[in-house]
Protein backbone atom coordinates (compact mmCIF):
# COMPACT_ATOMS: atom_id res chain seq x y z
CA UNK A 1 0.00 0.00 0.00
CA UNK A 2 1.62 3.21 -1.21
CA UNK A 3 0.15 6.68 -0.65
CA UNK A 4 0.46 9.84 -2.77
CA UNK A 5 1.69 8.12 -5.93
CA UNK A 6 1.72 9.89 -9.29
CA UNK A 7 -1.38 7.88 -10.24
CA UNK A 8 -3.32 9.15 -7.23
CA UNK A 9 -2.16 12.76 -7.81
CA UNK A 10 -2.99 12.92 -11.53
CA UNK A 11 -5.95 10.62 -10.86
CA UNK A 12 -7.78 13.07 -8.60
CA UNK A 13 -7.74 15.59 -11.47
CA UNK A 14 -9.18 12.88 -13.72
CA UNK A 15 -12.07 12.50 -11.26
CA UNK A 16 -12.75 16.26 -11.44
CA UNK A 17 -13.14 16.23 -15.23
CA UNK A 18 -16.34 17.56 -16.72
CA UNK A 19 -16.82 19.58 -13.55
CA UNK A 20 -16.65 23.11 -12.20
CA UNK A 21 -14.21 24.22 -9.48
CA UNK A 22 -15.42 27.35 -7.73
CA UNK A 23 -13.58 30.09 -5.83
CA UNK A 24 -15.00 30.62 -2.35
CA UNK A 25 -13.97 32.92 0.48
CA UNK A 26 -16.18 31.65 3.33
CA UNK A 27 -17.56 28.29 4.56
CA UNK A 28 -21.03 29.57 3.64
CA UNK A 29 -19.98 30.16 0.03
CA UNK A 30 -18.35 26.72 0.00
CA UNK A 31 -21.67 25.16 1.02
CA UNK A 32 -23.49 27.08 -1.72
CA UNK A 33 -20.91 25.85 -4.26
CA UNK A 34 -21.26 22.22 -3.11
CA UNK A 35 -25.04 22.50 -3.17
CA UNK A 36 -24.85 23.84 -6.75
CA UNK A 37 -22.83 20.79 -7.82
CA UNK A 38 -19.22 22.03 -7.75
CA UNK A 39 -16.67 19.18 -7.96
CA UNK A 40 -14.26 21.10 -5.73
CA UNK A 41 -13.81 24.51 -4.16
CA UNK A 42 -10.81 26.83 -4.19
CA UNK A 43 -10.43 28.44 -0.77
CA UNK A 44 -9.03 31.95 -0.91
CA UNK A 45 -9.19 35.17 1.04
CA UNK A 46 -10.30 37.44 -1.79
CA UNK A 47 -11.60 36.50 -5.22
CA UNK A 48 -9.37 37.72 -8.08
CA UNK A 49 -11.72 40.63 -8.90
CA UNK A 50 -11.15 42.00 -5.37
CA UNK A 51 -7.40 41.33 -5.49
CA UNK A 52 -7.36 43.36 -8.68
CA UNK A 53 -9.41 46.15 -7.12
CA UNK A 54 -7.58 46.41 -3.80
CA UNK A 55 -4.04 45.84 -5.04
CA UNK A 56 -1.23 45.18 -2.55
CA UNK A 57 0.50 41.85 -2.05
CA UNK A 58 -1.81 38.86 -2.39
CA UNK A 59 -0.74 35.87 -0.26
CA UNK A 60 -1.87 32.40 0.82
CA UNK A 61 -5.12 32.55 2.80
CA UNK A 62 -5.46 32.44 6.58
CA UNK A 63 -5.16 28.76 7.61
CA UNK A 64 -8.13 29.18 9.96
CA UNK A 65 -10.33 30.17 7.03
CA UNK A 66 -9.09 27.23 4.95
CA UNK A 67 -9.80 24.80 7.83
CA UNK A 68 -13.29 26.28 8.16
CA UNK A 69 -13.95 25.53 4.50
CA UNK A 70 -12.49 22.00 4.76
CA UNK A 71 -14.86 21.47 7.69
CA UNK A 72 -17.88 22.81 5.76
CA UNK A 73 -17.88 20.55 2.67
CA UNK A 74 -17.35 16.91 1.64
CA UNK A 75 -15.92 17.73 -1.81
CA UNK A 76 -12.17 18.34 -2.39
CA UNK A 77 -10.75 21.65 -1.18
CA UNK A 78 -7.98 23.41 -3.10
CA UNK A 79 -5.98 26.44 -1.99
CA UNK A 80 -3.51 28.82 -3.62
CA UNK A 81 0.16 29.34 -2.86
CA UNK A 82 2.32 32.10 -4.38
CA UNK A 83 4.56 31.12 -7.29
CA UNK A 84 7.83 29.85 -5.81
CA UNK A 85 6.62 30.07 -2.18
CA UNK A 86 7.32 26.51 -1.15
CA UNK A 87 6.71 27.21 2.55
CA UNK A 88 3.16 28.39 1.86
CA UNK A 89 2.80 25.09 0.00
CA UNK A 90 4.19 23.19 3.00
CA UNK A 91 1.65 24.92 5.22
CA UNK A 92 -1.22 24.07 2.87
CA UNK A 93 -0.07 20.44 2.76
CA UNK A 94 0.07 20.37 6.56
CA UNK A 95 -3.52 21.68 6.68
CA UNK A 96 -4.60 18.73 4.55
CA UNK A 97 -5.84 20.54 1.43
CA UNK A 98 -6.52 18.19 -1.48
CA UNK A 99 -4.79 20.21 -4.22
CA UNK A 100 -2.51 23.27 -4.27
CA UNK A 101 -2.80 25.88 -7.00
CA UNK A 102 0.60 27.54 -7.51
CA UNK A 103 -1.11 30.62 -8.82
CA UNK A 104 -0.28 33.77 -10.74
CA UNK A 105 -3.36 35.34 -9.10
CA UNK A 106 -1.24 35.76 -5.97
CA UNK A 107 1.89 37.91 -5.95
CA UNK A 108 4.90 35.79 -7.00
CA UNK A 109 7.43 35.08 -4.24
CA UNK A 110 10.26 34.04 -6.56
CA UNK A 111 10.88 35.59 -9.95
CA UNK A 112 13.08 32.74 -11.22
CA UNK A 113 11.87 29.48 -9.75
CA UNK A 114 8.54 27.80 -9.41
CA UNK A 115 8.00 25.34 -6.54
CA UNK A 116 9.68 21.95 -6.93
CA UNK A 117 6.39 20.10 -6.75
CA UNK A 118 7.98 16.64 -6.82
CA UNK A 119 8.94 17.15 -3.17
CA UNK A 120 5.30 17.23 -2.04
CA UNK A 121 2.76 14.54 -1.31
CA UNK A 122 -0.13 16.84 -2.14
CA UNK A 123 -0.77 17.33 -5.88
CA UNK A 124 -0.41 20.71 -7.63
CA UNK A 125 -2.25 22.50 -10.41
CA UNK A 126 -0.45 25.27 -12.32
CA UNK A 127 -1.41 27.82 -14.98
CA UNK A 128 -0.15 28.01 -18.56
CA UNK A 129 -0.58 30.15 -21.67
CA UNK A 130 0.95 27.72 -24.13
CA UNK A 131 2.44 24.24 -24.43
CA UNK A 132 5.97 25.18 -23.37
CA UNK A 133 4.73 26.69 -20.11
CA UNK A 134 2.48 23.68 -19.46
CA UNK A 135 5.31 21.19 -19.96
CA UNK A 136 7.71 23.18 -17.77
CA UNK A 137 5.16 23.03 -14.95
CA UNK A 138 4.59 19.30 -15.49
CA UNK A 139 8.35 18.68 -15.42
CA UNK A 140 8.39 20.48 -12.04
CA UNK A 141 5.75 18.03 -10.82
CA UNK A 142 2.35 19.61 -11.59
CA UNK A 143 -0.31 16.87 -11.78
CA UNK A 144 -2.92 19.12 -13.39
CA UNK A 145 -2.79 22.17 -15.67
CA UNK A 146 -5.19 25.04 -16.22
CA UNK A 147 -4.96 27.60 -18.97
CA UNK A 148 -4.55 30.95 -17.23
CA UNK A 149 -6.96 33.30 -18.90
CA UNK A 150 -7.05 36.65 -17.12
CA UNK A 151 -8.46 36.17 -13.62
CA UNK A 152 -10.88 38.63 -12.08
CA UNK A 153 -12.01 40.19 -15.35
CA UNK A 154 -15.20 38.30 -16.19
CA UNK A 155 -13.81 38.46 -19.73
CA UNK A 156 -13.31 35.10 -21.40
CA UNK A 157 -11.09 36.37 -24.23
CA UNK A 158 -7.77 35.46 -22.63
CA UNK A 159 -9.00 32.01 -21.59
CA UNK A 160 -9.92 31.41 -25.22
CA UNK A 161 -6.57 32.71 -26.43
CA UNK A 162 -4.61 30.44 -24.10
CA UNK A 163 -6.69 27.32 -24.80
CA UNK A 164 -6.44 27.87 -28.56
CA UNK A 165 -2.71 28.47 -28.30
CA UNK A 166 -2.15 25.31 -26.25
CA UNK A 167 -4.13 23.16 -28.67
CA UNK A 168 -2.48 24.75 -31.74
CA UNK A 169 0.92 23.96 -30.20
CA UNK A 170 -0.13 20.34 -29.66
CA UNK A 171 -1.44 19.97 -33.22
CA UNK A 172 1.78 21.43 -34.57
CA UNK A 173 3.90 18.88 -32.71
CA UNK A 174 1.75 16.09 -34.09
CA UNK A 175 2.33 17.31 -37.64
CA UNK A 176 6.13 17.27 -37.32
CA UNK A 177 8.63 14.60 -38.22
CA UNK A 178 10.07 12.95 -35.13
CA UNK A 179 13.56 14.14 -36.15
CA UNK A 180 12.34 17.69 -35.64
CA UNK A 181 11.19 17.21 -32.05
CA UNK A 182 14.61 17.78 -30.50
CA UNK A 183 14.67 21.35 -31.77
CA UNK A 184 11.01 21.84 -30.88
CA UNK A 185 11.76 20.80 -27.30
CA UNK A 186 14.53 23.38 -27.24
CA UNK A 187 12.24 26.07 -28.62
CA UNK A 188 9.51 25.17 -26.14
CA UNK A 189 12.10 25.08 -23.33
CA UNK A 190 10.51 21.81 -22.30
CA UNK A 191 11.88 18.29 -21.71
CA UNK A 192 12.11 16.20 -24.88
CA UNK A 193 10.41 13.21 -23.20
CA UNK A 194 7.30 15.26 -22.43
CA UNK A 195 7.19 16.65 -25.97
CA UNK A 196 7.32 13.09 -27.29
CA UNK A 197 4.54 12.06 -24.92
CA UNK A 198 2.29 14.93 -26.02
CA UNK A 199 2.86 13.95 -29.65
CA UNK A 200 1.77 10.39 -28.94
CA UNK A 201 -1.24 11.30 -26.79
CA UNK A 202 -2.43 14.29 -28.83
CA UNK A 203 -3.03 16.04 -25.50
CA UNK A 204 -1.22 17.00 -22.31
CA UNK A 205 -0.20 14.01 -20.17
CA UNK A 206 -2.27 15.49 -17.31
CA UNK A 207 -5.80 16.89 -17.09
CA UNK A 208 -6.27 20.46 -18.37
CA UNK A 209 -8.99 22.84 -17.17
CA UNK A 210 -9.73 26.41 -18.30
CA UNK A 211 -9.61 29.37 -15.93
CA UNK A 212 -9.59 33.15 -15.87
CA UNK A 213 -12.64 35.10 -17.00
CA UNK A 214 -15.43 32.52 -17.19
CA UNK A 215 -18.64 34.25 -16.07
CA UNK A 216 -21.60 32.62 -17.83
CA UNK A 217 -22.88 29.11 -18.67
CA UNK A 218 -22.09 29.84 -22.33
CA UNK A 219 -18.51 30.80 -21.40
CA UNK A 220 -18.06 27.44 -19.66
CA UNK A 221 -19.52 25.51 -22.60
CA UNK A 222 -17.35 27.52 -25.01
CA UNK A 223 -14.21 26.43 -23.19
CA UNK A 224 -15.42 22.82 -23.08
CA UNK A 225 -16.12 22.85 -26.83
CA UNK A 226 -12.62 24.26 -27.34
CA UNK A 227 -11.36 21.05 -25.78
CA UNK A 228 -10.58 21.70 -22.12
CA UNK A 229 -11.64 19.03 -19.61
CA UNK A 230 -13.37 21.21 -17.02
CA UNK A 231 -13.49 24.81 -15.76
CA UNK A 232 -12.46 26.97 -12.83
CA UNK A 233 -14.84 29.81 -12.08
CA UNK A 234 -13.44 32.48 -9.80
CA UNK A 235 -15.07 35.85 -9.37
CA UNK A 236 -17.78 34.96 -11.92
CA UNK A 237 -20.08 33.32 -9.38
CA UNK A 238 -19.96 35.23 -6.12
CA UNK A 239 -19.59 38.60 -7.89
CA UNK A 240 -22.87 38.01 -9.74
CA UNK A 241 -26.46 38.84 -8.82
CA UNK A 242 -27.61 35.32 -7.96
CA UNK A 243 -24.61 33.12 -7.10
CA UNK A 244 -26.47 29.87 -6.24
CA UNK A 245 -28.48 29.82 -9.43
CA UNK A 246 -25.59 30.93 -11.64
CA UNK A 247 -23.31 28.31 -10.11
CA UNK A 248 -25.85 25.56 -10.80
CA UNK A 249 -26.36 26.81 -14.36
CA UNK A 250 -22.61 26.78 -15.05
CA UNK A 251 -22.38 23.21 -13.69
CA UNK A 252 -25.18 22.06 -15.99
CA UNK A 253 -23.76 23.89 -19.02
CA UNK A 254 -20.39 22.22 -18.41
CA UNK A 255 -21.98 18.75 -18.43
CA UNK A 256 -24.23 19.46 -21.42
CA UNK A 257 -21.71 21.64 -23.26
CA UNK A 258 -22.62 20.12 -26.61
CA UNK A 259 -26.33 20.78 -26.19
CA UNK A 260 -27.26 24.43 -27.04
CA UNK A 261 -30.90 23.86 -26.06
CA UNK A 262 -29.91 22.99 -22.50
CA UNK A 263 -27.41 25.86 -22.36
CA UNK A 264 -30.22 28.20 -23.49
CA UNK A 265 -32.52 26.85 -20.81
CA UNK A 266 -30.11 27.12 -17.90
CA UNK A 267 -28.99 30.61 -18.99
CA UNK A 268 -32.44 32.09 -18.43
CA UNK A 269 -33.23 34.40 -15.54
CA UNK A 270 -29.81 34.32 -13.90
CA UNK A 271 -29.85 38.02 -13.10
CA UNK A 272 -26.82 40.20 -13.43
CA UNK A 273 -23.48 38.67 -14.44
CA UNK A 274 -20.33 40.14 -12.90
CA UNK A 275 -19.24 43.41 -14.46
CA UNK A 276 -16.51 42.60 -16.95
CA UNK A 277 -13.27 44.42 -17.69
CA UNK A 278 -11.80 44.94 -21.14
CA UNK A 279 -8.26 43.56 -21.24
CA UNK A 280 -7.04 46.65 -23.10
CA UNK A 281 -8.16 48.78 -20.13
CA UNK A 282 -5.78 46.96 -17.78
CA UNK A 283 -2.30 48.50 -17.46
CA UNK A 284 0.29 45.99 -18.66
CA UNK A 285 1.93 45.67 -15.25
CA UNK A 286 -1.39 44.51 -13.75
CA UNK A 287 -1.94 41.57 -16.11
CA UNK A 288 -1.86 38.44 -13.96
CA UNK A 289 -1.28 35.97 -16.79
CA UNK A 290 2.22 37.32 -17.46
CA UNK A 291 3.31 36.16 -13.98
CA UNK A 292 5.05 32.78 -14.15
CA UNK A 293 7.13 31.79 -17.15
Amino acid sequence: METSTWKTKAGLAQMLKGGVIMDVVTPEQARIAEEAGAVAVMALERVPADIRKHGGVARMSDPEMILGIIEAVTIPVMAKARIGHFVEAQVLEALGVDYIDESEVLTPADEDNHINKHKFKVPFVCGCRNLGEALRRISEGAAMIRTKGEAGTGNVVEAVRHARQLHADIRRIQSLDEDELFVVAKQLQAPYELVLQVRELGKLPVVNFAAGGIATPADAALMMQLGVEGVFVGSGIFKSGNPAQRAKAIVEATTHYQDPKIIAEVSQGLGEAMVGINISDIPEGELLASRGW
Binding site: T3, S4, T8, G11, M15, L16, K17, T74
Partner: protein, 190 residues
Protein backbone atom coordinates in the same frame (compact mmCIF):
# COMPACT_ATOMS: atom_id res chain seq x y z
CA UNK B 1 -23.84 -5.26 -27.17
CA UNK B 2 -23.70 -1.55 -26.32
CA UNK B 3 -22.31 -0.33 -23.03
CA UNK B 4 -23.53 2.98 -21.65
CA UNK B 5 -21.18 5.10 -19.57
CA UNK B 6 -22.84 7.75 -17.43
CA UNK B 7 -21.12 10.92 -18.68
CA UNK B 8 -22.46 13.63 -16.37
CA UNK B 9 -19.09 14.24 -14.74
CA UNK B 10 -15.91 12.37 -13.84
CA UNK B 11 -13.62 9.81 -15.46
CA UNK B 12 -16.07 8.49 -18.06
CA UNK B 13 -13.66 8.75 -21.01
CA UNK B 14 -11.21 6.37 -19.32
CA UNK B 15 -13.94 3.71 -19.10
CA UNK B 16 -14.95 4.39 -22.69
CA UNK B 17 -11.38 4.00 -23.98
CA UNK B 18 -10.89 0.74 -22.12
CA UNK B 19 -14.18 -0.67 -23.41
CA UNK B 20 -13.32 0.32 -26.98
CA UNK B 21 -10.00 -1.50 -26.69
CA UNK B 22 -12.10 -4.56 -25.80
CA UNK B 23 -14.09 -4.03 -29.00
CA UNK B 24 -17.28 -2.77 -27.34
CA UNK B 25 -19.70 -0.19 -28.67
CA UNK B 26 -19.98 2.61 -26.13
CA UNK B 27 -22.59 5.34 -25.65
CA UNK B 28 -22.19 8.33 -23.34
CA UNK B 29 -25.33 8.79 -21.25
CA UNK B 30 -26.33 12.29 -20.16
CA UNK B 31 -30.09 12.22 -20.77
CA UNK B 32 -32.81 9.58 -20.09
CA UNK B 33 -33.51 8.90 -23.79
CA UNK B 34 -29.90 7.71 -24.21
CA UNK B 35 -30.64 4.78 -21.88
CA UNK B 36 -32.86 3.02 -24.39
CA UNK B 37 -30.03 1.90 -26.67
CA UNK B 38 -27.78 0.37 -24.02
CA UNK B 39 -27.44 -3.15 -22.60
CA UNK B 40 -25.42 -2.31 -19.50
CA UNK B 41 -24.27 0.79 -17.66
CA UNK B 42 -21.11 1.98 -15.92
CA UNK B 43 -21.27 4.80 -13.39
CA UNK B 44 -17.74 6.23 -13.24
CA UNK B 45 -15.63 7.87 -10.58
CA UNK B 46 -16.07 11.59 -10.07
CA UNK B 47 -17.80 13.60 -7.35
CA UNK B 48 -20.82 11.65 -6.12
CA UNK B 49 -22.59 14.83 -4.95
CA UNK B 50 -22.21 16.43 -8.40
CA UNK B 51 -23.26 13.33 -10.34
CA UNK B 52 -26.20 12.72 -7.97
CA UNK B 53 -27.51 16.27 -8.39
CA UNK B 54 -27.23 16.09 -12.17
CA UNK B 55 -29.07 12.74 -12.13
CA UNK B 56 -31.92 14.44 -10.29
CA UNK B 57 -31.91 17.57 -12.49
CA UNK B 58 -32.06 15.53 -15.71
CA UNK B 59 -34.49 12.87 -14.47
CA UNK B 60 -32.12 9.91 -14.69
CA UNK B 61 -32.68 8.27 -11.30
CA UNK B 62 -36.01 6.56 -11.94
CA UNK B 63 -35.27 5.40 -15.54
CA UNK B 64 -31.99 3.81 -14.38
CA UNK B 65 -33.75 2.14 -11.42
CA UNK B 66 -36.34 0.81 -13.85
CA UNK B 67 -33.62 -0.69 -16.07
CA UNK B 68 -32.01 -2.23 -12.98
CA UNK B 69 -35.32 -3.89 -12.11
CA UNK B 70 -35.25 -5.34 -15.63
CA UNK B 71 -31.89 -6.91 -14.70
CA UNK B 72 -29.63 -4.60 -16.74
CA UNK B 73 -26.09 -5.01 -15.33
CA UNK B 74 -24.79 -1.84 -13.64
CA UNK B 75 -21.26 -1.22 -12.34
CA UNK B 76 -20.34 1.67 -10.08
CA UNK B 77 -16.67 2.61 -9.53
CA UNK B 78 -15.80 4.87 -6.56
CA UNK B 79 -18.40 7.69 -6.78
CA UNK B 80 -20.49 5.29 -8.86
CA UNK B 81 -20.39 2.77 -6.02
CA UNK B 82 -21.67 5.41 -3.59
CA UNK B 83 -24.56 6.14 -5.97
CA UNK B 84 -25.46 2.42 -6.09
CA UNK B 85 -25.45 1.94 -2.31
CA UNK B 86 -28.74 1.79 -0.40
CA UNK B 87 -27.03 3.39 2.58
CA UNK B 88 -24.40 6.14 2.55
CA UNK B 89 -22.51 7.22 5.65
CA UNK B 90 -20.49 10.43 5.83
CA UNK B 91 -22.61 11.87 3.06
CA UNK B 92 -23.56 15.51 3.12
CA UNK B 93 -25.51 16.32 6.30
CA UNK B 94 -28.72 16.93 4.32
CA UNK B 95 -28.33 13.58 2.58
CA UNK B 96 -27.40 13.21 -1.06
CA UNK B 97 -29.40 11.88 -4.01
CA UNK B 98 -28.51 8.34 -5.10
CA UNK B 99 -29.87 5.35 -7.02
CA UNK B 100 -29.99 3.29 -3.80
CA UNK B 101 -30.13 -0.08 -5.59
CA UNK B 102 -27.58 -2.29 -3.88
CA UNK B 103 -27.67 -3.79 -0.39
CA UNK B 104 -24.44 -2.26 0.81
CA UNK B 105 -23.45 0.56 3.15
CA UNK B 106 -20.88 2.84 1.54
CA UNK B 107 -18.74 5.19 3.60
CA UNK B 108 -17.61 8.26 1.66
CA UNK B 109 -13.99 9.46 1.92
CA UNK B 110 -13.40 6.43 4.14
CA UNK B 111 -9.61 6.65 4.10
CA UNK B 112 -9.34 10.40 4.65
CA UNK B 113 -8.39 13.21 2.32
CA UNK B 114 -6.31 13.28 -0.89
CA UNK B 115 -3.07 12.85 1.09
CA UNK B 116 -4.37 9.41 2.10
CA UNK B 117 -5.10 8.29 -1.47
CA UNK B 118 -3.14 5.14 -2.30
CA UNK B 119 -2.43 2.22 -4.60
CA UNK B 120 -2.70 -1.39 -3.39
CA UNK B 121 -2.89 -4.88 -4.85
CA UNK B 122 -6.32 -6.35 -4.11
CA UNK B 123 -6.99 -10.07 -4.55
CA UNK B 124 -10.21 -10.53 -6.55
CA UNK B 125 -10.43 -14.29 -6.96
CA UNK B 126 -13.29 -14.14 -9.47
CA UNK B 127 -11.11 -12.38 -12.05
CA UNK B 128 -7.95 -14.44 -11.57
CA UNK B 129 -5.09 -15.45 -9.30
CA UNK B 130 -3.03 -12.30 -9.82
CA UNK B 131 -4.16 -9.57 -7.41
CA UNK B 132 -5.79 -6.55 -9.03
CA UNK B 133 -3.68 -3.33 -9.11
CA UNK B 134 -6.13 -0.92 -7.51
CA UNK B 135 -6.00 2.89 -7.35
CA UNK B 136 -7.92 4.46 -4.44
CA UNK B 137 -8.57 8.21 -4.71
CA UNK B 138 -10.40 9.84 -1.79
CA UNK B 139 -12.03 6.46 -1.94
CA UNK B 140 -15.15 5.10 -0.28
CA UNK B 141 -15.38 1.75 1.48
CA UNK B 142 -18.08 -0.87 1.74
CA UNK B 143 -18.85 -0.98 5.45
CA UNK B 144 -21.52 -3.62 5.28
CA UNK B 145 -23.02 -6.03 2.78
CA UNK B 146 -26.53 -7.38 3.26
CA UNK B 147 -28.90 -9.87 1.65
CA UNK B 148 -27.37 -11.88 -1.19
CA UNK B 149 -24.53 -9.42 -1.78
CA UNK B 150 -21.19 -11.20 -2.15
CA UNK B 151 -17.81 -9.75 -1.20
CA UNK B 152 -15.42 -9.91 -4.17
CA UNK B 153 -12.37 -8.16 -2.82
CA UNK B 154 -10.89 -6.91 0.44
CA UNK B 155 -7.76 -5.09 1.57
CA UNK B 156 -5.26 -7.10 3.63
CA UNK B 157 -6.95 -5.87 6.82
CA UNK B 158 -10.27 -7.28 5.65
CA UNK B 159 -11.99 -4.04 4.69
CA UNK B 160 -14.36 -4.56 1.74
CA UNK B 161 -13.59 -2.78 -1.53
CA UNK B 162 -15.49 -4.83 -4.15
CA UNK B 163 -18.86 -6.59 -4.07
CA UNK B 164 -21.56 -7.99 -6.31
CA UNK B 165 -25.30 -8.47 -5.90
CA UNK B 166 -26.99 -10.15 -8.85
CA UNK B 167 -26.20 -7.93 -11.79
CA UNK B 168 -24.91 -5.03 -9.72
CA UNK B 169 -21.16 -4.61 -9.32
CA UNK B 170 -19.43 -2.15 -6.99
CA UNK B 171 -15.74 -1.28 -6.65
CA UNK B 172 -14.33 1.36 -4.32
CA UNK B 173 -11.27 1.77 -6.57
CA UNK B 174 -10.67 2.77 -10.21
CA UNK B 175 -10.07 -0.16 -12.60
CA UNK B 176 -10.26 2.40 -15.45
CA UNK B 177 -6.97 3.93 -14.23
CA UNK B 178 -4.85 0.83 -13.73
CA UNK B 179 -4.67 -0.48 -17.29
CA UNK B 180 -5.85 -3.95 -16.16
CA UNK B 181 -9.01 -4.85 -18.08
CA UNK B 182 -10.02 -7.97 -16.12
CA UNK B 183 -12.83 -6.31 -14.16
CA UNK B 184 -14.20 -4.73 -17.33
CA UNK B 185 -14.25 -8.17 -19.00
CA UNK B 186 -15.88 -9.62 -15.88
CA UNK B 187 -18.58 -6.95 -16.05
CA UNK B 188 -19.19 -7.63 -19.75
CA UNK B 189 -19.79 -11.32 -18.89
CA UNK B 190 -22.22 -10.58 -16.03
Amino acid sequence: MTVGVLALQGAFIEHEQLLRRLGQDVVQVRLPQQLSGIDRLIIPGGESTTIGKLMVAYNLLEPIRERARQEMPIWGTCAGMILLAKEITEGRPAGQPALALMDITARRNAFGRQLDSFEADVPVAEVGVEPFPAVFIRAPLIEKVRGDTRVLGTLTDGRIVAARQGRLLATAFHPELSGDDRLHRYFLDM
